[in-house]
């Protein structure tokens, strides 16, 4: 096991860790002071060269995203902190909001300063009511301490932060769906390009970053890009909050160096599987990632590139563990039902396809399947989300990546456990 010492969650066991006074005592807001003395473009350069990649799921370079903001426009710029955490298996942003809200806010203020934005939003999922109340306190504390508002800490920089509650829609975690929702509409994603950095909120340049991504920013400013790059793999470095849930003895959020082995994560950090059962399959990066079989899972590092090489993805780093007692058809149905419920309905392949996946999986579970159902499942996933073979690059059948997000996991279930799927075509499942 590595000697990694938590960075983002260092203080979360302290009772008072959410307060401004505690955060300041622990060195909080020194990065903001440093950043306000830097040129905005130097802040962007520092974050860009740290190779910080987005923690929400897509893994895009945060600093590079910031450079896309046009400099020659009179339009206002906006920053949106994406706190719409909804990916099944993911529960880390909620922890950061509850336990380290000022760390996140400091990252927001620095990011806003870097892109020359004077109004920033926190889009928090509607269900997180306690977290919303916490954020209101945090923002009030920040205004009172001149960390927000006019002339922040004696500089000539102004920033207001508005908390905006969602109302129950997974798709609003997708950045363009989020922007539509913030504008007061249903959360229907937009075609890209134009990307939000060019045309986002109110058609103005907008950056959308995840809670955990922004929480890394103060540490990068304080300790430098080189330090950040030294943690884990250089192309996608840094601390990472891994969430482990499902059939494990000790589920939870584990902050580790990027690149920890999935085996260590499941069997050491999360305490292994209850009752001495065997591992069967794992979602490595939230329910949108292709599942790994037990053999594959024992041979993978939790970083961006190694998981792509295994034809899955790190995504939101939400690990869901399934043991030998879990029926794969049943688990696949559970996930397909989630996507059918959450499909925004804008694109026909996704709206109709997810519904058909559920219908077919339901009849398989009921022992009323047809011999053609396995091929049908594969055909539907291809219709919604293209081929799973990344090298063929057959994506883009829907406006947003939700199509791939349902196609990849469902297809991986069927392909990796085809025998199990075939065996239940004519036989009703007897569930444990």
């Amino acid at each position: 096991m590595s000697e990694f010492k938590p960075i983002l969650t260092e203080h979360i066991k302290d009772d008072d860790c959410h307060s401004l006074s505690f955060y300041k005592k622990a060195g909080g807001y020194t990065a903001l002071k440093l950043a306000l003395k830097m040129k905005p473009e130097d802040v962007i350069e520092e974050v860009k060269s740290s190779n910080l990649r987005g923690r929400g799921g897509a893994g895009f370079s945060a600093g590079l995203k910031w450079t896309f903001i046009p400099k020659d426009t009179a339009k206002p710029k906006y920053l949106i902190n994406n706190a719409d955490e909804s990916e099944p298996g993911t529960f880390k942003d909620r922890l950061l909001i509850n336990k380290a809200p000022h760390q996140m806010l400091e990252g927001m203020i620095i990011a806003s300063y870097a892109i020359n934005c004077n109004t920033a939003f926190i889009y928090i999922r509607g269900e997180f009511y306690k977290e919303y109340q916490q954020l209101k306190k945090t923002i009030t504390e920040a205004y009172e301490a001149n960390l927000l508002g006019k002339g922040i800490l004696g500089s000539d920089y102004n920033l207001d932060v508005v908390i905006h509650r969602g109302a129950g829609a997974y798709i609003c975690g997708e950045e363009t769906g989020l922007i539509e929702s913030l504008e007061g509409k249903r959360g229907w994603p937009r075609l890209k390009p134009p990307f939000p950095a060019i045309e986002g909120y109110l058609r103005c340049p907008t950056i959308v970053n995840n809670v955990e991504t922004l929480s890394c920013v103060p540490h990068i400013i304080n300790r430098g890009a080189e330090w950040f790059k030294s943690i884990g793999p250089e192309k996608g470095p840094g601390p990472r909050l891994f969430c482990v849930s499902g059939r494990v003895n000790n589920p939870g959020v584990f902050e580790e160096e990027m690149g920890i082995s999935l085996e260590d994560l499941i069997f050491k950090r999360a305490g292994g599987i209850p009752d001495g059962k065997k591992l069967k399959a794992v979602f490595p990066g939230g329910s949108s990632s292709a599942i790994l079989t037990a053999d594959e899972a024992m041979d993978v590092k939790m970083d961006f590139d190694d998981l792509v090489a295994k034809k899955s993805m790190l995504g939101s780093a939400g690990v869901i563990v399934m043991d030998e007692t879990v029926n794969m058809v049943q688990a696949c149905l559970n996930i397909a039902r989630f996507y059918a419920h959450e499909s925004c309905g804008q694109c026909t392949p996704c709206r109709e396809g997810t519904m058909w996946l559920v219908k077919i999986l339901q009849r398989l579970v009921a022992g009323e399947g047809k011999d053609t159902d396995i091929d049908m499942l594969l055909e539907i996933t291809d219709n919604i989300g293209g081929l799973i073979d990344f090298s063929k690059g057959s994506f883009g059948k829907t406006i947003c990546p939700f199509g791939e997000a349902v196609a990849w996991p469902v297809r991986s279930f069927v392909e990796k456990f085809e025998t199990e799927f075939r065996s239940c075509i004519h036989e009703k499942l007897v569930l444990a």
């Binding site: 206002p76 955490e85 909804s86 990916e87 099944p88 298996g89 993911t90 529960f91 942003d93 909620r94 109004t119 999922r125 509607g126 269900e127 997180f128 009511y129 306690k130 508005v162 905006h164 509650r165 969602g166 109302a167 129950g168 829609a169 997974y170 929702s181 913030l182 504008e183 007061g184 509409k185 249903r186 959360g187 109110l202 969430c243 482990v244 849930s245 499902g246 059939r247 589920p251 939870g252 959020v253 979602f283 329910s287 939400g318 869901i320 399934m322 879990v326 688990a331 559970n334 996930i335 989630f338 419920h341 959450e342 925004c344």
Partner: protein, 163 residues
């Protein structure tokens, strides 16, 4: 159709200061749609036709556009709900840790199916998708509060203790 039936249903926000504060938060007032809907729902327990009309007037929208928004979000209701909305997460990590048994328990105890409200309007049972608390599965949200790591016994005691 007589004139009475097409007259607009009335709704008045009780706290206009809150409404003004919400509107002042945004560079474009249409962005206030969701916060105003949340506020209206906190007043009546659900979104009435009157509330849709009032919000549409405030934001220069056609009411159909506001209704379109309401219909998209699972947390916005267009009908009265029970005093306690018992929302049981049924997505994978909760399902693997006993969420289905919680649904069965409540169905048996209260005699209602998912989506239904008890005759005394005390409980509404809802099966919901991932609440983002998979590490403490199974999780149930009752109104605004999360209840985590529930066994059937704990869940039962929780329901019993609701006034």
């Amino acid at each position: 159709m007589n004139s009475k039936s097409i007259a607009k249903e009335k709704f008045v926000f009780k706290d206009m200061v809150k409404v003004e504060n919400i509107l002042s938060n945004y560079p474009d007032k249409k962005s206030a749609t969701l916060p105003l809907l949340h506020l209206a729902q906190s007043q009546d327990g659900y979104i009435t036709t009157g509330a849709i009309n009032t919000i549409a007037d405030l934001l220069d929208y056609h009411p159909a556009i506001v209704m379109d928004c309401v219909s998209f979000y699972t947390m916005l209701y267009t009908k009265a709900q029970g005093k306690y909305k018992v929302q049981i997460c049924q997505t994978l990590s909760c399902s693997l840790n006993g969420a289905d048994a919680l649904v069965d328990h409540m169905q048996n105890k209260c005699g209602i199916k998912a989506g239904e409200t008890t005759p005394d309007e005390k409980y509404t049972l809802m099966k919901v998708e991932c609440l983002g608390s998979c590490g403490t599965a199974p999780v149930v949200q009752i109104n605004n509060d999360y209840h985590e790591g529930l066994s059937i016994e704990k869940f039962d005691a929780l329901l019993e203790n609701l006034e």
